[in-house]
């Protein structure tokens, strides 16, 4: 019996294809961020003094607060994926996750505003170019992901909820690793 005449087989086929595409997407994101972060570490080793001087102008407290915000958002995203969650609870959790994502963006933009004034100083080497590239690329993912969470909250189909929340957790994982690498090491 082929998938077209058996709706269950068709659903299984579709589910398997979706899962494969999801993990291809997850790994392409992790590969891209991995390359950026390794590049940041290598340049940091070459320009150690410049990177140490530049880090004095960063605010690890704000970054720590942003870690809490993103983890809380991830918790809300996890609540949205529970199979027994009602439609209302699923929607509220997705909207909560999105709003916390926007809170992350607001805090990060405030942090950028305090760093922009010193970013052009040549004594900091390539630090701020790489810092804005790596954290900015992550920030764009947060903005995009938060909008998609809101769109999915409007019509929360299980497949879409699983897709965006998995990607949201990946964005969370990237930030957890990025924080000590960029701000401390």
């Amino acid at each position: 019996m082929d998938a077209r005449s058996d709706p269950i087989a068709a659903a299984v086929d579709e589910d398997t294809t979706d899962a494969l595409l999801l993990w291809v997407l997850v790994w392409s994101e992790l590969a891209a961020f991995g390359i950026l972060l390794v590049g940041f570490l290598v340049v940091g080793l070459i320009q150690a003094d410049a990177f140490a001087a530049a880090r004095a102008h960063l605010d690890p407290l704000l970054a720590g607060i942003n870690t809490l915000v993103l983890l809380t958002s991830g918790w809300q995203a996890a609540l949205a994926t529970r199979p027994r969650a009602s439609l209302g609870k699923r929607r509220r959790a997705l909207v909560g996750a999105a709003l916390l994502g926007f809170a992350f963006v607001a805090i990060k933009l405030f942090e950028y505003s305090t760093e922009a004034g010193v970013a052009g100083d040549p004594q900091f080497g390539s630090f701020f170019e790489l810092y804005f590239l790596v954290t900015g690329f992550h920030l764009l993912h947060v903005v995009f992901g938060a909008f998609v969470l809101l769109m999915v909250a409007w019509r929360p189909k299980p497949g879409n909820v699983a897709l965006i929340t998995t990607l949201w957790h990946v964005i969370d994982l990237v930030w957890i690793v990025m924080f000590p690498l960029v701000y401390l090491v």
Partner: protein, 92 residues
């Protein structure tokens, strides 16, 4: 997709928040010494483990998928630790 109930997810979130706050407190008290940075790198691995296994729901996933995802933060944290050691050896 997680199998946890809301109470379990809340406990995991609380644990993660305590790990983050502990790390921030350690940084504020001791400053960014190599030992503190090493501890914070270890805490990052712990946070990633909880997010991947409990929030993403990979605890019951195939081991290749689970281990593959946990290898990513571990590899980067090891690279960061190597950079820290190398930097300390070269510039101290």
């Amino acid at each position: 997709m997680t199998d946890h109930n809301p109470r379990q997810l809340f406990k995991i979130w609380l644990l993660l928040a305590m790990v983050v706050i502990s790390g921030m407190a350690l940084m504020a008290i001791a400053g960014p010494t190599p030992l503190v940075i090493a501890v914070l790198l270890g805490l990052a691995i712990i946070k990633c483990r909880f997010v991947a296994l409990d929030f993403m729901g990979l605890r019951g996933a195939p081991s290749a998928l689970r281990l593959g995802l946990l290898t990513w933060p571990a590899a980067l944290v090891l690279a960061a630790a190597a950079k820290l050691l190398l930097g300390t050896a070269l510039f101290s």
